[in-house]
Amino acid sequence: MVQTKLASRDYLIRFVLYALLTGFALVMLFPFIYMMSTSFKTSNDVYRFPPRLLPYSPTTIQYNGAEAPLYRFEVDGAERELVLTGDRVFFGFFTTPDLINTAEPRQSEILLQVPIDDAVATGASVDVGERTYDEYTVTPEDGGEPLTLLLAYRGALDVFVDPNDPAVLAYAAARTAPAAEDINFQVGNYATVFGLNLNRALINTVIVTLGVTIGQLVTSIFGGYAFSRIQFRGRDTIFLAYLGSIMIPFVVLIIPMYRLMVAIGWQNHLVSLIVPWIFTAYGTFLIRQFFITIPKEIEEAALLDGCSRFRILWTIFVPLSTPAIATLGIFSFLYAWNSFVWPLLIIGEGNEPNHVLTLSLIRLSNIAADQPNLVLTGAAIAILPPIIMFILAQRYFIESVTSSAVKG
């Protein structure tokens, strides 16, 4: 754009632009943030509504020699964390006759609840609706005048106690009481998921990716050199056929390749994920395009000195084209690491020892269908290595995209 002087309006525009970019960046990043946060959660925490991004888990302390959860209570107007003792106390729930729900006594509006042992029966009883309710004299806990009320129903409540001050007690049903929670990263999810075959899958993926990447680099460098630097009959025909093969979509080859692998006994084996994929028309083309730009004079001088072609390739061309080789390496790495269709067909979801990560991930999503924390931990294991690679070698990733569009 043509330079203009900066006015306050330009600052405003800049602000809007950055806000737009940041907003969009958040949208792009959110699924990954969600993945990471879920991968550190407990399974219960995942199902909480409304969802939270940070991983929480119930706070527990040692109480009477055992691990016991803490709950949040308001005692005398102050927020306190009380521990669940495991004891239960029978409570009476008291109210006046007019507040009793005749159809469902447990739904009645309750005026007072005290331990049933603290209430004194008057001996009288009152009929409300179809039932008879006993009358009690009840003293409110906060110390008020004793009241004469009807016992609507009895029920057990859990006893909570302040671990630092045994005098502070509270009674509630633990099921509905608000648990005290801490931010707590469940790193153990990763160990669990590795135990569900992802450890093996990770190593298999590394093996396959290494094999494919190295193989593609070798064949592409040789092929690229022959296509760019050696004149011989038939070269251009082959080159055209090679370029044409880029246009053929993989779907056409799926079934015959599968039949071929079955025929030579490679079905279900890792080798079928490596050997057929080390030949790449795209990579050969990429390397050829780069080799063409290397000046001919260097090579001719070396040839006159009696250097063999392999030596020239290794000592001159390869060092000069590290950017292109890195670009292709990144491309092959991503391609092999993320591939899914072919492993699915040739290895299958059931053959666990030979799973690669993508397959194991699908399998995990089936066996842990109700535990998104584990599934997304698996997703993180599969997704993080390429992302780390990307952060380290960003330039070559971008290069590998734009190079595919060079001759659009």
Binding site: L21, M28, F32, H269, V275, F340, I387, I398
Partner: protein
């Protein structure tokens, strides 16, 4: 090669390598004939691929015999063509023997055991990681730092030691021993001998260049073919061969467990047959069609209902889904990409950072991201519905309207699920497209903007009259690649939607192919589907080819 380059006295003796090769060729011819015979006799149904493939393989097996016969004659006449033929034979025999040998050694299948062995000895891989870290650290130090050398040596020592321990405990010795023990089988000896012998022979013949009066061009030729050979072998084995096989299978009724028969165009007929019928408005649309047709859709005009039917309605449905997917994906992944790239192209600081963030999703495996999105789409705990609920609640409370929370069933509602797929795919590809547009923008010559500025064009006019037209080739390229990859969409529905069988609304063309080929094992039918799909993709590619060519003409 017919031109005699150098005259040699006819009576002179042949070099020994030549004589050996001539004798060797007789063995090659014999071996080739034997292989051909075996193909026709031993395997009856030929890997259940059918007689045509058997015939073809038999013919291919005869090729070495023909070539060897030719080579023998040409070598006797001392013609260079004989030398090349012999080279090709020996080289191919060596490579094939090498393959067979690796197979007999159990190397290919042995790859499966590596992960188990490493897993049991994980601690030593940590040693490798430590060694790498130390080495990296040493590389960061200054050259003259004495610590650098020490650190490097320690790193190498640790690395070597862990590698040795890993190899030892992971059973490298056992593996080597098991390779040696395969030599109890005489076939292994034979194959090894063939490989070494043909390799040596190829090497010797290669060095007879002077004898045959080799010109520099001829030398370049064999060097070129040699370097190209891995690619050529891969091309034949894993591209051209399968392509032919696919074409053949698409004309057969190949299924699992039976030998395929050629049934002509019947698969294609089944796939592509459409029928239009008409009935009265309130009649069952089904009755308008022949018995083996299913209803695709119908339309009422006046008092008649016109019904479109197909023999394979699910195929047409999947094609429709795929095309709708592409049509929705284009605006979703192209328009934001153009605007983002325009902003990123400004020379403000921090743009590389944003570019990197936008690019992140295209680095991640689709299977992984789809699983993330599966839970984002969850109707009860997913963030999509949560955010919609929040927005609806906000609108209701602020504006006093009474909108109902839609509670969208993203993955189970047949009307929504395709859109959910598009949203995921759009998110995944938009950053990739942004980078492409950015490259396109950066290739626009700056002078054009300067000229426009001099002419008094404002920002909008510059965008309208310079940027957009200059960006059109990139736009076109991006749209075409989006369509070509979109037409082959498979991973997204497979991983995003857990329900099986796949809901009809989310069945894409490749998923349909997968279902026919690998669930119902109708390989023949699925191959035909693949070729129909290929035809569709090819049309798109052709359009791209023609238009980009006319673009170039316009530029020149």
């Amino acid at each position: 090669m017919t031109a005699r380059i150098q005259e040699r006295p006819q009576g002179a003796a042949y070099p020994p390598a030549l004589l050996v090769n001539i004798i060797w060729n007789i063995f090659v011819i014999g071996g080739s004939l034997l292989l051909c015979y075996t193909i026709f006799q031993v395997t009856e149904d030929f890997f259940s691929l059918g007689r045509p493939v058997q015939l073809f393989a038999g013919m291919v097996a005869l090729l070495p015999a023909v070539l060897a016969a030719f080579a023998t004659l040409a070598l006797l006449q001392r013609r260079p063509a004989g030398r090349y033929a012999a080279l090709v034979i020996n080289y191919v025999v060596m490579v094939m023997a090498g393959f067979v040998l690796l197979h007999l050694w159990g190397v290919f299948i042995g790859l499966d055991y590596i992960s188990g062995a490493i897993l049991q000895n994980v601690q030593y891989t940590l040693g490798l990681a430590l060694a790498y870290a130390l080495y990296w650290l040493a590389g960061r130090m200054r050259e003259d730092n004495p610590l650098r050398l020490l650190l490097e040596r320690v790193a190498i020592a640790i690395g070597m030691l862990s590698l040795l321990l890993l190899l030892w405990f992971a059973g490298a010795v056992n593996a080597a021993f098991s390779i040696i023990s395969t030599y109890a089988n005489p076939v292994v000896w034979l194959v090894t001998a063939i490989m070494i012998f043909s390799g040596l022979l190829a090497y010797r013949i290669l060095h007879l260049g002077e004898y045959f009066g080799e010109t520099p061009q001829q030398q370049a030729a064999w060097q070129g073919w040699l370097m190209l050979s891995p690619n050529v072998i891969g091309f034949v084995l894993f591209f051209a061969g399968p392509l032919l096989l696919s074409f053949y299978l698409s004309f057969t009724n190949d299924t699992v467990g039976n030998v395929p028969e050629i049934i002509g165009l019947r698969n294609y007929g089944e796939i592509l047959s459409l029928q239009v019928g008409s009935v009265e408005v309130d009649a069952n649309p089904r009755t308008a069609l022949d018995r083996d047709y299913g209803v695709l859709g119908d339309i009422v005009i006046g008092q008649t209902r016109y019904v479109l039917g197909a023999r394979d309605p699910l195929f047409w449905q999947s094609i429709r889904n795929t095309i709708v997917f592409c049509l929705m994906l284009i605006p979703l992944s192209v328009i934001p990409a153009i605007f983002l790239s325009l902003i990123l192209n400004s020379k403000l600081p921090g743009m590389k950072f944003y570019r990197a963030i936008y690019f992140l999703p295209s680095v991640a495996a689709v299977v992984g991201t789809a699983l993330i999105w599966r839970w984002l789409y969850d109707p009860t705990i997913g963030y999509f519905n949560f955010i919609i609920t929040q927005i609806v609640g906000f609108l209701n409370s602020t504006f006093g309207v009474s909108l109902t929370d839609p509670r969208i069933l993203w993955l189970t509602d047949q009307g929504v699920v395709l859109f959910s797929l598009v949203l995921l795919a759009g998110w995944q590809v938009v950053g990739f497209n942004t980078v492409l547009f950015l490259a396109g923008l950066q290739s626009i010559p700056q002078q054009l903007y300067e000229a426009a500025y001099v002419d008094g064009a404002n920002r909008w006019q510059q965008f309208r009259n310079v940027t957009l037209p200059m960006l059109s080739p990139t736009t076109f390229f991006v749209i075409i690649t989006t369509v070509i990859t979109g037409l082959q969409v498979f991973n997204e529905p497979y991983a995003l939607i857990a329900a099986r069988p796949m809901p009809t609304a989310a069945t894409t063309a490749v998923y349909y192919l997968y279902n026919r080929g690998f669930f119902r094992f109708e390989f023949g039918y699925a191959s035909s589907v693949a070729w129909v799909l290929f035809a569709l993709i090819f049309v798109v590619t052709l359009v791209q080819f023609r238009i980009s060519r006319s673009n170039k003409a316009y530029e020149e």
